[in-house]
Subunit: 386 residues, 2 copies
């Protein structure tokens, strides 16, 4: 096992009806900015529940944080924070709203060009407003971690940053809130969480048995519960297990003390920034090819994955690995995600542009061995075409 630090101070408030408890987590005299996206929190009653829970508080709203939240949009919220003297942020949403609110939290405290926060990958953050979360879409894990991804439209750039300042103080995880999600968002969420686990698990063994088994526990649970969530949308237990998986897939623990990959995510961000493909869909397209291209580097873990997740262990090693990768792709397809670049209208002609953007964002040595160069990514993209 590698040396590591792990700390996650976010308070998880899990279960039906927990929005009612948020007033206990926010100072009574706080001036709160409630942030959300396209307005689904109005339709599903979340915003009303929050206002009821926070009766008597000074509340301001900022709507319109889009999927893959835009730097340009978020700066408008920073202006409101300053003009309204906001001192607590409450994000109602999924990864995009939460990530955007994390940026608002630190940009509101930053002296200088706020783009530096993102371009420094968070190292220049010197403080942040406290934030809480009411999670509406289990997927990104942003509700209990210290990372965020923001897109700057004018640069076609989607970039992650990190800071212990942006851990949410609390996250309400009420599975019933997810009942009204469209099936595509359920699917994306399950696949996104699955892929978060793979990015931390599908590397090489360092004898970290606990992290491996926790990862496998999350993968198995997502495999069992994901299809049920599509077939039986009002099943509380299924939604509960998915919600908790998504949070734990990226709360930092399973990636502690082990090598981390994240190459698929980095390439996926470019596909989203360039072509607007949903985040989870980019991962579903890229991961099978990424695993095939890196079969030798990841051989031991691929065999472990094949056996413990898919029950595949007999016969030729390469055949076992190929079968496990095929089953992984089939799972994404069972979750109604398309898994080829051609499904999104992309062809071999797009590959040079994707590679160029990776180079522009300094994404030239990816993966746990830093050997996923643009030339390796070219092979992955070629395998992902059809």
């Amino acid at each position: 096992m590698l040396n590591f630090d792990f700390q996650n101070p976010t308070k998880l408030m899990f279960g039906q009806g927990r929005i009612a408890d948020i007033a206990g987590e926010i100072p009574k005299d706080a001036r709160v900015l409630i942030t959300y996206g396209g307005g689904s929190v109005k339709k599903n009653g979340v915003l009303d529940q929050v206002k009821t829970a926070l009766a008597g508080y000074h509340l301001t709203e900022f709507a319109g944080i889009e999927p893959n939240p835009l730097y340009e949009t978020l700066l408008k919220a920073v202006d409101i924070v300053k003009s309204e003297k906001i001192d607590f942020l409450l994000a109602l949403g999924g990864g995009s709203v939460i990530d955007g609110t994390k940026f608002i939290a630190c940009a509101s405290c930053y002296q200088g060009d706020p783009w530096e926060i993102i371009f420094s990958r968070g190292t220049r953050i010197n403080g942040a407003l406290p934030l809480g979360v009411v999670l509406t879409l289990p997927a990104a894990g942003s509700e209990s971690n210290h990372r965020a991804v923001v897109t700057r439209k004018s640069m076609n750039a989607k970039i992650s940053f990190y800071s212990t300042e942006i851990f949410p103080r609390f996250a309400v995880l009420d599975p019933t809130i997810t009942y009204s999600l469209p099936p595509a968002q359920i699917s994306n969420g399950v696949v996104d969480a699955y892929m978060h686990v793979l990015e931390q698990y599908m590397t090489y063994p360092v004898n970290a048995k606990v992290q491996e088994r926790f990862s496998e526990g999350l993968l198995l649970t997502l495999l069992e519960e994901g299809p049920k969530a599509l077939a039986d949308p009002l099943n509380y237990e299924v939604r509960s297990n998915i919600m908790l998986c998504a949070t734990l897939a990226l709360n930092g623990f399973i990636g502690s003390g082990v090598p981390n990959d994240w190459a698929t995510h980095m390439v996926g961000h470019e596909l989203t920034a360039l072509y607007g493909i949903d985040h989870a869909c980019t991962l579903a397209v890229l991961m099978p090819g990424m695993l095939k291209v890196q079969k030798e580097d990841k051989r031991l873990r691929l065999l472990q994955y094949a056996e413990r997740i898919w029950g595949l262990k007999d016969g030729d090693e390469d055949a076992v690995i190929d079968a496990a990768i095929d089953k992984t792709r089939q799972f994404f397809e069972t979750m109604q995600l398309k898994t080829r670049l051609s499904d999104y209208g992309l062809t071999a002609e797009n590959i040079p542009e994707i590679l160029e953007h990776l180079k522009k964002h300094d994404m030239v040595r990816l993966g746990e061995r830093k050997n996923v160069t643009p030339e390796v990514v070219r092979k992955v993209l070629e395998l992902s075409l059809q």
Copy 2:
């Protein structure tokens, strides 16, 4: 899954050489009380490493916190805290030293009779000094949780208390520190951690798949690594996995959202208080009988345990369960723990005294269904005799 809150702010600093990093976690002007037990931290170099790391700090030492730390001893440390104006506590040890230091932390801030802290089960705690931990014995999980157990000799009472005030700020987990532990302490630690998992896992299903699989991951890892730690004491990877298991077995997560048992611990505490039997040994003696007596209440989970942990699933259900319980007992014996009350010189004549003490400490409705009455405990004790 049941509703729950989960928050654990302790920073884990894992790996070889991490004591060197503790100065980054303690204010430079802090007046630090270093607490420890019988002096093994002098022999194994931990105390020297700590003093080197904290060169320039105002340091005071308090030695002599015994296994099952005594209220009477700890009050002496509270006097030192007050006279030396201590404002940070640093525990070097295992569960006993850490638990004792947690009590010192809150007793130092308490106005009134400090016994009220314990007898109120922590509800009267109104503040605590900050504390850090250098873990020397992986077992209790106290290094990253909010519970402690203190014994009051004059009353033969061993009682747990809880407070979010007593989460350690940080815990150094350096597996090499455990190399010099005597085999009996390794054994006790592995069995104690295993039993902490069972107390949170061996109840009834509430469809909490993540918690179940995490628990099973810890059990499997302890089963694999425990015997190796005895056979190959300088194996860093084995020690690493055990250390992390012990911490995660009782950091609060696997017991969140699920029923908790803890009856075996409560009865075990009485055996320790009355007869001085090591904590883990009391658990190894009691658990097999506790599972047999509660076979109906725990049937579904016992079958899951038999299959996922021991690979037992074919044939008569009762035979499968009995075999799983037998294998559990054999594991304790493989770890060199004795598993009968008679091994500790106890007979049927001791049973009334044990039940009387349970009643005195209001431990009359134990277990996840609150149906483990003294009469049920009597049956467990009778099954545990030979």
